[in-house]
């Protein structure tokens, strides 16, 4: 394990380029100046550069390794998106600057709204949610606001399939709703009879991911939409798996009333170290008045087009603001540039190659003896392998395979989600991987399984080559302590 920068600290050592000017403190009254030294590391500029460069080299990242983390859509982030988003006119724009100084930026945001509407079949888009989970919160808040505006106050139940992302029931609960769980059938589709028995006069809506978290397309989606709408509820589309259907079929056409899109997944903005994300929301006609603000509006004036922020004045029924400004501007720009580069035809290509890659991987792993969770179904952009039989016969669990893959220089797939499938790996290759990379991953999977089955190799201690070995996740959960305590000087 690498030392912390604090451990490299030596009293009095300084990085002069970063050092504050002494004169800057002059205007602060003596009484307010601190007398004790701040607990900050003291290191030279070169030491600091080396420290953080080394840390960055310890990372697994999409720039260095195949990253088939199911449900996360870890596709390549084109360098051009980054370069163009950093143009001085964008990067130097102050969020509090006058609107007249940011017309270029605002026009990009307006076009992004329009493109997202077009590709999802929704009637309005707000870009302001800062992440997928905030998009979900905005979506369910809009469903609540819609029912409340109709004086339909009894509707407080949100239906979630048992395979839903954990954020779905969490979001419903955060919005003051009661979660009603609906089981999944053996073929991976929602249990339609159970759904019919669950909807009723208290149904506020249903939250669905389609293709589902099980990596299959919900085939009866039109009937699901009809049943929920007839009961007076609305349909929420969790955009986690939008990559699979991009340009092919639109949530708006399936009957969804509200959708959140993870721009950091589908539209290739960096995932970073858990952020910043972007969870733009799209709505159907009836939810337009409730969109979170601000939204970018366009008017035609005698001098040409003018773009402006729409706020409470324009959308008095809005669920309100989600952040101080209007979302993660830099992330939104990258998504905009990506969409412009890919173009309308490219959207379809994304879905086709994402799906082709997933089905190729699934077929090859299945041929190699791995058990698919839903062998009768065509995979969407991701699929599930279950290691149930390997776990029983040779004690090779999903966690063991995940850790062993790290030693073979592949990031692990998502493990133990969805919970419905025992010992599962959720594998999503995305469209940006080559056949050679996919073949390499299959070879690594086969090597691991063969070594365990035929040579009795145990991977309980894997990984061996990583900066940290197998972590004690029980201890991490029970004794969570992330605070660095420097030694007393």
């Amino acid at each position: 394990m690498s030392k912390l920068i604090f451990d490299k600290s030596r009293s009095g050592r300084r990085a002069f380029a970063q050092a504050p000017y002494d004169s800057m403190a002059v205007a602060i009254p003596d009484a307010l100046l601190r007398t004790d030294k701040p607990r900050l590391p003291e290191a030279s500029e070169l030491q600091t550069v080396r420290h953080y460069t080394r840390l960055s080299q310890l990372n697994f990242s999409i720039d260095t390794q195949f990253y088939p983390l199911g449900s996360c859509t870890m596709k390549y982030n084109p360098r051009a998106c980054n370069a163009l988003a950093l143009l001085p006119g964008f990067a130097g724009r102050h969020p509090l600057g006058p609107v007249s100084h940011g017309q270029g930026f605002l026009s990009c945001m307006y076009e992004l709204q329009e493109m997202l509407k077009d590709v999802t079949g929704m009637q309005g888009v707000s870009l302001t949610p800062m992440a997928g989970a905030q998009g979900e919160l905005a979506g369910v808040a809009m469903i609540k606001a819609y029912h409340d505006a109709r004086n339909d106050h009894e509707r407080n139940e949100i239906i979630c399939p048992d395979a839903a992302h954990g954020t779905n029931p969490a979001t419903a609960t955060m919005c003051g709703c009661i979660v009603k769980e609906v089981p999944t059938g053996a073929d991976g589709d929602i249990d339609f009879e159970a759904l019919k028995a669950t909807v009723g006069p208290k149904t506020a809506g249903i939250m669905l991911t389609n293709p589902s978290t099980l990596g299959v397309f919900e085939r009866r989606i039109k009937e699901v939409a009809a049943v929920v709408h007839e009961a007076g509820g609305l349909l929420y589309y969790d955009g986690a798996n939008l990559n699979a259907i991009l340009g092919k079929v639109r949530p708006g056409d399936m009957g969804f009333d509200v959708i959140h899109m993870n721009l950091h997944k589908t539209f290739s903005t960096p995932h970073g170290g858990g952020g910043p994300g972007s969870g733009a929301v799209g709505v159907s006609e009836r939810l337009l008045p409730f969109m979170p603000i601000p939204v970018v509006g366009k008017t035609e004036t005698s001098e040409g087009l003018a773009y402006d922020w729409l706020t409470e004045k324009d959308l008095p029924q809005s669920i309100g603001r989600l952040s101080a400004f209007m979302g993660n501007a830099g992330v939104l720009l990258r998504a905009y540039i990506y969409m412009r580069m890919v173009g309308r035809a490219g959207m379809e290509r994304i879905a086709e190659y994402a799906t082709l890659n997933a089905n190729y991987l699934a077929a090859r792993l299945s041929d190699a003896g791995f058990e698919l969770a839903f062998p009768s179904r065509r995979a969407s952009h991701e699929f599930i392998v279950t290691l149930k039989s390997e776990a029983r016969s040779v004690s090779l669990t999903a966690m063991d395979v995940a850790k062993a893959l790290l030693d073979k220089n592949y990031h692990a797939p998502t493990t133990y989600f969805p919970m419905l499938v025992p010992e599962c790996l959720l594998i999503e290759p995305t469209e940006t991987e080559s056949k050679e990379t996919l073949d390499g991953f299959v070879a690594a999977m086969i090597e691991i399984a063969t070594a365990a089955k035929e040579d009795g190799v145990s991977y309980k201690e894997a990984p061996y080559t990583m900066p940290v070995r197998r972590l004690d996740d029980v201890k991490a959960a029970r004794q969570l302590d992330l605070v660095y305590k420097p030694e007393q000087e």
């Binding site: 149930k388 029983r392 133990y416 919970m419 025992p422 996740d473 029980v474 959960a477 029970r478």
Partner: protein
């Protein structure tokens, strides 16, 4: 796999029930359930004297893999909770049918045994899940 006790009743939600001499019912989760959840790190218990509906939320068990609601298999009033689990949730992993019990309920009505499984029926239920 620990021995499945023969004197308990079981549910499809992988809970077990034991009738006590004073008429109360002790409830926990089965060995199969703890195995599927993995190492437990946290247990949320109900309040004493809390009234529970049949099928209502009774407790939450959280493992390194997932958090899962535990539903009351019968209606009644909570007369005891296993306080030890607050500090030692792993008791459910090590002794699911003994020290890892979760709640004791005083049933509010007759227990519908038809809705519960015998040890043999539960064993068969689990075997089918494993296939």
């Amino acid at each position: 796999m620990s021995e499945m006790p023969g004197d308990l009743l079981y549910t499809a939600e992988h809970e077990w029930l034991r009738r006590e001499e004073d008429g109360s019912v002790t409830i926990g989760i089965t060995d199969h359930a703890q195995g599927a959840l993995g190492d437990l790190v946290y247990v949320e218990l109900p309040e004493l004297e809390q009234d529970l509906k049949n099928g209502g939320e009774m407790a939450v068990v959280e493992s390194v893999k997932a958090a899962s609601d535990v539903y009351a298999p019968i209606a009644g009033t909570v007369v005891a909770v296993n306080e030890v689990l607050a500090d030692d949730p792993e008791k459910i992993n090590t002794d699911p049918y003994g020290d890892g019990w979760i709640v004791r309920i005083q049933p509010s009505g007759r227990i519908d045994e038809g809705a519960l499984m015998s040890p043999d029926a539960y064993q068969q239920f689990v075997d089918e899940l494993d296939e």
